[in-house]
Amino acid sequence: MTDQNWSILIPEIFLFIWALFIFGLDLGIKRKNPKILGYSAMAGLTITGILLAIFNGGILFKGMFQSDQLAIFFKVIFIGSAFMAVGSSFDIASEKIRHHRGEYYGLILFSTVGMMFLSSASELITLYIGMELTTIPLYVLAAFYKDDKLSVEAGLKYLIVGAFSSAILLYGLSLLYGLTGTTDIVTMKINLSLVFLSYGKIGPGLILAMIMVIAGIGFKLALVPFHMWAPDVYQGAPTPITAFLSVGSKAAGVVAFARIFVNGLIAFASDVMKPLDWGIIVAILAAAAMILGNITALRQRNIKRMLAYSSIAQIGYVMVGMVAASELGIASVGYYMFIYLFANMGAFTIATIFNDKTGSDGIISYSGLSKTSPIFAAYMSIFLLSLAGIPPLGGFAAKYLVFAAGIQAGYTWLVIVALLTSVVSLYYYANIIKTMYFSAEEPTIKIHPSFPANLVLLISVIGIILFGIFPGPILDWALESAKIFAF
């Protein structure tokens, strides 16, 4: 334990302490002014981001904690999604959440801490704990409206399916441990190649382990067929939490997936390794996710459920980049998640604001929004069009890169499926735009978001447009972060 650079833990430790501080603050201000809590949570996240920029690069605990570029890239996404979730929570925090406001924000921060630890984990035990640390606060947050039947039901469903998947994941991890004799991902890679070299083959036990790990992480990603919980939970949970689930928690799943599969089991991602090729498994699941997600989204009338199916489909696109398992593939996944952060958080923020005002999540109630709140209708259109992948918004460049990576890696059929389904997807995204702009019904609702929500929306719109037209900086960074894997 000598000459270790402990300072790289500072962002995580700070955020943890800040969450405790918010618990205390809630007691201190006697629950009078909910805004202070929200602002301090946002401030804490901002400071964490700054600290992350200062203290990074290095490994701790014999490599169990790695502050490499990939971790930092995704930590920025986590912090960003938490920031936006907090920002869009101001209205519900003052009206719907009467109790435990401090805990509400504190748990968001805790979950973010969990994600940050998870993204830095390069060892199975830490990874598993990071995963639980991410998820357990989210169980509670999903059920945070304790008087609301839907919210509690959402929390319960999330919890049961989550615990179930966590057990499956654990079993998979235990098999990996047994097969390789180690919990360290890099050593695991070495041991596997040793076994391969000495025996000339690796038994099908490995594929069992891989499938169970895919299932466990697939739960977090809401990958078909491990997605069933998602629509219900997304619908019932408080909307900012839904947004956080759909972005932060998914990004955490993505990074965990990348760590285990792209870093540890990279050798088994090609046709040569049949039948141990995890690439084809994930490719089929991704195709299923794109098809099922997009098609089911077509007939949804609730915007949160629609966005749930849409995010099931979106993760399918992300996985196209993942199965490519190349530098471009991982970079495109990073870029995709970055744009997805803006687009999805933005869309959910609008849904939150709208729900505050009208109490409705029905798509039909967005009728004529363009007349009363033209700016927000325009924002929403930008988010949805970016999700659909319309140029020149960020979503287009993201899809382009992911598809290019897929084609480069030889998954042409998958890219064709992705293209076809994205044609379908545009229909339901455009349907909302149509409802907002082309509805003959007289609109009555005018939405006035609070300042932080406005800020979130503005950041998202600027992010989508700016990084859509100039993807350079983000992409370079993502490429840099992809370099940590030796391809």
Partner: protein, 176 residues
């Protein structure tokens, strides 16, 4: 001898688990689960995992499952009926699914190739293998970091459990 202990424990563990899911009364379920866990602890000890085995009894059977019992008492669930009106077909499909799952697991586990040293080292473990001290040493040195992470996790769980289980009085109405 060892084999006999294994089989007895295995049967008790599996049977306990099976009985647990077949019970209608949750209290009985918990008791069967405790039985199953005790048998499992015996196997742990047989595998030279003395420390973890005893933890299984102390922590799992002693604390977690008691928590379950508390909750059952608290909710006073005696009266609830879970009469099955589901078609038998549904149940049959599910059972088939589980049996298939088990068969797949068995087939694949039997075909597993393990690292070379595993075959050679199936011998007597060193006397303090799995004892309190070596495990604790590992925990506080090599695995200090996940250990500390777990403490955060427990804190989060406490906060979460309190928030969830607490009955909120609507006192704030007046304040606002």
């Amino acid at each position: 001898m060892e084999l006999a202990i294994f089989y007895i424990s295995a049967i008790v563990a599996a049977g306990g688990a099976l009985m647990m899911i077949l019970q209608r009364n949750p209290v009985a379920s918990v008791l069967y689960l405790i039985l199953s866990l005790v048998a499992l602890a015996v196997l742990f000890v047989q595998l030279s995992a003395l420390f973890v085995g005893s933890l299984l009894i102390i922590v799992y059977a002693g604390a977690i499952l008691v928590l379950f019992l508390f909750v059952i008492m608290l909710l006073n669930l005696r009266g609830e009926k879970f009469t099955s009106e589901k078609p038998i077909l549904d149940k049959g499909t599910k059972i088939t699914l589980v049996v298939l799952f088990f068969m797949e697991l068995v087939i694949l586990i039997k075909q597993m190739a393990f690292p070379q040293r595993m075959d050679s080292l199936m011998t007597q473990a060193s006397p303090d293998f799995g004892g309190v001290e070596p495990v604790a040493t590992l925990l506080y040195t090599k695995y200090l970091y996940p250990f500390e992470l777990t403490s955060i996790l427990l804190l989060v769980a406490i906060v979460g459990a309190v928030i969830m289980a607490k009955r909120d009085k609507n006192e704030e109405e007046g304040e606002r």
